[in-house]
């Protein structure tokens, strides 16, 4: 009985750490070269120059904050909510470029992103969204913030 009760907690911990590490890693890789990340953003053809400058600097910082929040369970519900928001936004942007027939890299992990093409990047986003929803159902209800 005790083992059965412990398993979801372990799964939650693993998924939370995984998601936190993914966001911190993505933030660091993009934050290392904002200029290259700006080119990835511009390739989406959704925003132009002044706004892409803001996004190229703000988004990695935001992802880093979310990653830290998930790793250390700080502002947990807010972190999960923001994660869901960002992943949904990424998925919409990827779908749009796919529909437009644009051959672009996701840019999610800078230049070393192992995933190429929109279908695989979308699949990755959907898996991460499923993890966020799982974490929200498991742990966020009991979290104070």
């Amino acid at each position: 009985m005790g083992i059965v009760e412990k398993r979801p907690i372990t799964m939650e911990l693993l998924f939370r750490l995984l998601l936190g590490a993914v966001f911190c890693g993505a933030a660091i890789l993009k934050g290392m070269n904002p200029q290259a990340f700006q080119q990835e953003i511009l390739a989406y053809q959704l925003i132009g120059y002044p706004l892409s400058f803001v996004v190229a600097h703000w988004l990695p910082a935001m992802e880093f904050a979310i990653g830290l929040g998930l790793l250390f369970r700080y502002g947990y519900r807010t972190a999960l909510f923001l994660t869901l928001g960002l992943l949904t936004m990424f998925s919409i942007a990827l779908t749009w470029t796919w529909i437009q027939g644009l051959d672009i890299n996701c840019g999610c992990f800078g230049k070393i992103d192992p995933v190429h093409g929109q279908p695989m990047a979308l699949l990755r986003d959907l898996i991460l969204i499923a993890i966020v929803l799982f974490l929200y159902r498991r742990g966020a209800a009991a979290s104070p913030n």
Binding site: M32, Q38, Q39, H57, W58, A61, F64, A65, G69
Partner: protein
């Protein structure tokens, strides 16, 4: 409330620091064309024949390239240069391109074609392959 401050202020401050001091910070506005850079619109208005030179990696060239472009980069310069010279005729223009505004390989290749090979009328496509894709 504290968490809202954390997720609001921390990324903002980090972003401002990055935008102010990062050695590879993003560009606020699109840089103006320099020296021998020409836009796709200008090229389309030329009456002279154009030879396209793709200075990106072989892998990127094989994936897709401007129709009739010659693959010429640092790895295959010696072997592919004769192909370019076969096509070149006095009066025609050579336009080199690489990935985006930030890549340097097109400028390096244009300098080699001008300095080492002695070709004239060698230009660089402003915005590179990305601008071609955008124009299609």
């Amino acid at each position: 409330m504290k968490s809202c401050l954390f997720y609001g202020l921390f990324p903002l401050l980090l972003g401002i620091l990055s935008a102010s001091f990062h050695p590879n910070r993003a560009l606020w506005r699109q840089p103006e064309p320099v020296d021998n850079e020409v836009s796709l619109n200008e090229i389309q208005g030329w009456k002279e024949s154009v030879i396209w030179v793709d200075a990106r990696s072989g892998q990127e060239y094989r994936k897709d390239h401007i129709p009739s472009a010659i693959e010429l980069n640092v790895d295959n310069f010696e072997s592919n240069l004769p192909h370019l010279l076969e096509l070149w005729q006095p009066g025609c223009r050579v336009v080199v391109y690489c990935d985006t505004l930030q890549c340097d390989s097109s400028h390096e290749m244009a300098e080699r074609l001008t300095g080492e090979v002695g070709l004239s009328d060698v230009y660089v496509l402003y915005g590179g392959w990305a601008s071609w894709r955008k124009g299609q």
